[in-house]
Symmetry: C2
Subunit: 110 residues, 2 copies
DNA sequence: CGGATTGGTGGATGATTGTCAAACCGTCCC
DNA sequence: GGGACGGTTTGACAATCATCCACCAATCCG
């Protein structure tokens, strides 16, 4: 599985904070982030992500934004793509940021 | 000075994470955030903020976005407006987020 | 092979956004 | 009163963006 290809993504040092924030400043992509928070790999099927109301090409677009911002990585295996969080890279570059973000999303008090 | 008026801003419980991230997903507004990180009040003059290249109405627009997202508060005193971070409100609602963001902006290694 | 599955590409469209310029508004002060 | 000062509002414009749709590409399987 380590010889699978990965879709283009920025090197760890190239991950830009403003770009990451811009990527996460969207409800759909924030939703994806919380789905990826378990650290597991996820397919791209909108139905597996609570995004049934969105066209698959729209979801594809959002996943590209996340990947190009350096938030996620995509492994290609056959006709499937497995998306997962770049937690180590993000934690190294922006210590505490991911934890704070994920903690904030599960405090929906209002 | 405590009887000065404040420009409209969301209540602490109404501050939305995605809205905050969207507000900070812009280089100019992120620059403003770092300027406000000292906790002090700042005037709106672009020349005091390293934004000499921007029109004052543009800066005014960015400050409005930050305020309406709940990131900053603006006190009106005579013909001056004093902008400052809503650090307590943000820390209460999104613990660790502001610290992580500000720490990340001062690690420009590459 | 041929069909089904998984997902991406490209175009179109309407909405949002960043910027500037000009006009405006309240306040301070001469 | 009448400038000058600090900032906001409005309008315009180009760029970006989120979304859908139709089509395409690669892979797997019978």
């Amino acid at each position: 599985m380590s010889d699978d290809e990965r879709l283009p993504q920025p090197a760890p040092a190239e991950i830009d904070l403003v770009t990451v924030l811009h990527a996460l400043g969207d409800p759909v992509r924030m939703r994806l982030l919380t789905s990826y928070a378990d650290g597991a790999e996820h397919s791209c099927d909108p139905r597996h992500l609570g995004l049934e109301h969105l066209h698959k090409s729209t979801v594809s677009h959002h996943m590209r934004v996340l990947r190009e911002a350096g938030v996620t990585t995509t492994r290609v295996a056959g006709r499937n793509r497995y998306v997962s969080l770049r937690r180590a890279d993000l934690d190294a570059r922006f210590p505490g940021l991911l934890d704070a973000l994920l903690a904030a999303t599960v405090a929906p008090e209002h």
